[in-house]
């Protein structure tokens, strides 16, 4: 059964067929959201929200673009909205994650000092990604987390391929500038 047939069945009331779409695209959506929120539990909640939104909006999907493209757009929009709403809450999550390796007895890494350094580096990288502009961040996540070609990213973001390349270049330069202090750690 093609994706078009599955969507047609869902629109006709076959709710069960939606499972097939979830199974096919769940990993992709989760990976995209992880790029924005960096916390597994939040990514799971958002993935759920995205699929529910997709289910409720299926009547508006006209089939002009690929279903995956439309799904990516919804995932990106919901992720960006979440990030805007939860800037302060994220700060506390990162503090908890930073302290957890120190107090976690079951941590694989034997050397706590090394764990702290690694945790600090990850924190810096996470912050640097989060400080990219919305478009740079979206292009960066779609490119690095989902390994999508620029043409596909352009279709999702509804911009030209040239604009995607520009955003990726600027993101790369910005990240290198912010993280230049990491070299040698």
């Amino acid at each position: 059964m093609t994706e078009t047939d599955i969507i047609h069945n869902i629109k006709n009331g076959d709710t069960d067929a939606f499972k097939l779409l979830v199974d096919k695209h769940q990993s992709m959506v989760f990976r995209t959201v992880m790029g924005f929120v960096h916390v597994k539990e939040d990514a799971e909640d958002l993935t759920q929200e995205i699929f529910i939104t997709v289910f409720q909006s299926l009547d508006y999907f006209q089939g002009k673009a690929e279903f995956a493209t439309w799904l990516y757009r919804i995932a990106v929009n919901i992720s960006l909205n979440y990030v805007k709403k939860n800037r302060i809450r994220k700060l506390f999550n990162f503090a908890e994650e930073k302290l957890q390796p120190i107090f976690n007895q079951q941590d694989k890494c034997v050397n706590p000092e090394e764990q702290i350094i690694r945790s600090e580096i990850e924190d810096l990288i996470r912050k640097a990604i989060d400080q990219l502009t919305e478009k740079q961040r979206t292009a960066f996540i779609l490119s690095k987390y989902n390994e999508l070609p620029q043409k596909k990213i352009a279709s999702i973001m509804q911009i030209s391929e040239g604009a995607v390349e520009q955003h990726l270049q600027r993101a790369k330069i910005k990240l290198q500038k912010k993280l230049s202090g990491l070299v040698g750690k």
Partner: protein, 94 residues
């Protein structure tokens, strides 16, 4: 290690994180509940029309009550003829 390598390592670590295997069950559990199904766009219209009809009915009923109430009778009473007040006037009766 170059900065790019640090970033790549970070991204690879995040990419390896898998969602809970029950996520699909959670999603379908919410979708299969009746309230998640898209509400009809006619529901608010029907609700508004119903409320308006009930209000109109209420106004009509109250108007019926007013028109069917007993007619008021006006009495023109001349108090001075009913009570012979001059009998009680002390000065005149002395």
């Amino acid at each position: 290690m170059k900065t790019e390598d640090y970033i790549k390592r970070f991204i690879e670590k995040e990419k390896q994180i898998e969602p809970t295997p029950f996520l699909r069950t959670r999603i379908m559990g919410v979708i299969e509940k009746p309230m998640v199904k898209k509400a009809s766009s006619w529901q608010p219209v029907i609700a508004t029309v119903s409320i308006s009809l009930i209000m109109l009915l209420g106004f009509q009923l109250s108007n019926l009550y007013n028109s069917s109430s007993a007619k008021q009778t006006l009495l023109n009473i001349n108090d001075s003829n009913i009570e012979m007040l001059h009998y009680y006037h002390i000065e005149s009766n002395e």
